[in-house]
Every structure is written in C-alpha cells, then in structure tokens.
Symmetry: C2
Subunit: 209 residues, 2 copies
C-alpha cells in the first residue's frame, strides 16, 4: 500500500496518525499541495478528485476518503480498535467523527478557502475552480465558535471523547484543533477539560506522525 | 428501537430504505419539520442536534447520523450486506457514499436552504440560526451540475453504482436524485445509463419506504 500524503496538511495527517496508532507502516509519497502538484495531470491519473490522503491498495484501488481509509485499515488490522468494539460503539464514534468533519474541518475550510489570497478560486477541493465567497468565510468563523464548546461538553469528565478508549474521534478532533491555528482559532480558555485532553493526545507518540 | 422520522424529508428516507432493504421493522415516530417540531424543546431533549433521522436504541442511546445508523443496522443484521462484504468493498462504498453526501446532498441543501423563503435563517441544520447566503445557493447550483455526470461515469455499464451488488451508495444516490427535483434539478437527458439505473432502483419495493 502507498499513502499519497502531504506532510504539512491536516487531512492526510488524520490517516497518518490512524495508521501509526495501529502500528501499520505505510509507504508514503509526498504530494506538494503548495505548488499545486495535486492538480497536476500525473496526480489526477492517480486520484481524479485531486485530494490527499489517497491510499493505493496493492491491486491499484484508490481509497481517497479519510473515513474510508480508516475503516479499511480497521478491517485489515482490527487491533487496537479505533472505531469501537461493538455495533453501538462504532455508531457513536462514526456519529461524532462526522460531526467533527462537518462542524470542525468544514467550518475551518470555509474560513481558509474563502479568505486566503493563496486559495483564490480554490473555495472547494477537486479539479474544478470555484470563486471565493467572503460571506462564507465569515459564516465559517461564526459556526466554528460552537465547535470547541461542543467538544468540551462531549468530553465531560472522560479521558477521551467517547469514554475510556482512544478512538478515531480523538484523532479527528486533535487534528482539527491544530488546524484551527491556521485561521487563529484555538481552544477557549474556559474549556479546561478540553485543554487537558489536548495535552494528553498531543503526548501520544503516534500523534507526531 | 424507534426511528424519529419525517415522511416527507429526504434524509430520514435514506434510513427508512436501508432498514426496509434489510427487512428490519422499525417503530417510527413522525417529527413534523414543516411546523418546526424538530426545533421544539421536547424534540431537543431527544436529539439536541434537531435533525432526523434519529435512531433511539433500546438503551436510550441516540444515533442521529445517517451513515452511523446504516453502519449500526449492518452490524446487528449483516445480511443482505449493503456496505460490502470485505474491507475493500466497504471502503469503496463508504467513499462513494461520502461523495454523494458532499457533492449531492450538501450541494442541494446549499441551494434550498439559501434560497427558499420558508428556510429564512435556516441556512444550516441544528439549533442555531444562520442567515441565508444567496451566493451560496448559486454556488450550490453550479457545483451540482457535476453530480449526475459523475454518477453516470461511476455507473458505467454496471447494474449498480459499485458493480453487481445493490449498496448503500445506490440508496443515497436514489434519494438525492428525487431530492434534486425540489430545486428543479434532474438527471440530464444524455445520462442514459443513469436514467435506466434510476428506473431500476425506483422499482425496488424497499424504495417506496
């Protein structure tokens, strides 16, 4: 398997951390988003969606969706379980992970992609250009203000976001937390438990993957 | 188990069809989105996110995410498999389903929620009001133009979107196709194979669920 990766970008980092937590070594090929390598003809032949992470299986199949990559790695190497150990746990992790995807990643992407001069006409990922909508950057910032308080409430007095077990949801929320710094958002001071959670997650060896 | 449902809305329809294809009978409670019942205090006590579908498990756990509901039902009743029979099939179904979610459902929701007078200040789901952005409705329409041609290409000469087996991706794409009519979008005339696929799916008994 080959993971098409970009060492500086948040999305492929989620896949790298997930694999590292499982002790799965993936061959990595860097795709330089900074110079637009993801939009090149040669990368479009690998992943026509022009995104990383993209996992190439040994038979050539391309899996270019973060949750699909996580689910695949969980299927081929179930331990340690990062997407739950039974139907209910799985559903709760998937549900929270999707919330982090929409209310965290997408909100931050709305801010960044609709305001950064470097991302002119790159308001959406993919091969087609879409112009920036400044009002959508503003709305992204407005909705993101609910994100960390939601996580703080979800965490409560637990060690991890869904209880005693570290999961995919912790990985996604951790990467969102660091990605938030790109647009000058951070965990509010009064979210004490989330601050402590962040320090715990950051100290995990896999999280430097 | 109880499925909180709205018989007229596209999102809970996906869960209804999924359960019906598996022959799982769910007790259903209707939540009237038209009169704002999903934003009422009594429903917020059930699902604070104010969305349907929401599946209440017998222990009171609420699963209020379409893919999480599908995954839960697949776990407790694996046959017929609707999310694949091995790691690779699962990953491909999840990947396509997420694409249908973002490029189909979200694009249509951008059009509808940012333009319909009935949805003033309801540009996003959830308990918080966000004003409509007319420019986002326009962008939703622009990006949706790529959706059906993408499905036509994905389908190719196959019976279903991912080959010989009916899957969750077919359910999601079918519901998007009918939802598209709400904003006067339909399968283009030149997408012949997709037109035939739509007729095949619509004829399935579960798709009238």
């Amino acid at each position: 398997m080959i993971l098409y990766d970009c060492i500086t970008a948040p999305s492929p980092r989620r896949a790298r951390i997930f694999a590292a937590e499982k002790g799965i070594e993936l061959e990595k090929v860097q795709v330089d988003l900074g110079t637009g390598e993801h939009l090149s003809e040669s990368f479009m032949r690998i992943n026509p969606r022009c995104t990383v992470p993209a996992l190439a299986l040994d038979d050539g199949t391309i899996i270019a969706d973060n949750f699909a990559i996580a689910d695949y790695l969980e299927s081929i190497q179930p331990q340690p379980a990062l997407i739950g150990s039974n139907a209910r746990e799985r559903a709760l992790i998937i549900q929270l992970n999707n919330r982090i995807e929409v209310e965290g990643f997408m909100a931050l992407a709305e801010i960044l992609r609709n305001s950064s001069p470097r991302m002119k006409n790159r308001a959406l990922t993919g091969p087609v250009d879409f112009p920036q909508l400044p009002a959508l950057a503003e709305r992204g910032r407005a909705r993101f203000q609910y994100f960390f308080p939601m996580l703080e409430e979800q965490l409560g007095d637990q060690e991890f976001l869904l209880g005693d077990h570290f999961s995919l949801a912790d990985i996604s929320a951790f990467v969102v937390t660091e990605f938030a710094g790109w647009v000058k958002e951070r965990i509010p001071q009064d979210c004490n438990r989330l601050q402590a959670w962040y320090a715990r997650i950051k100290a995990r060896p896999a999280c430097s993957a």
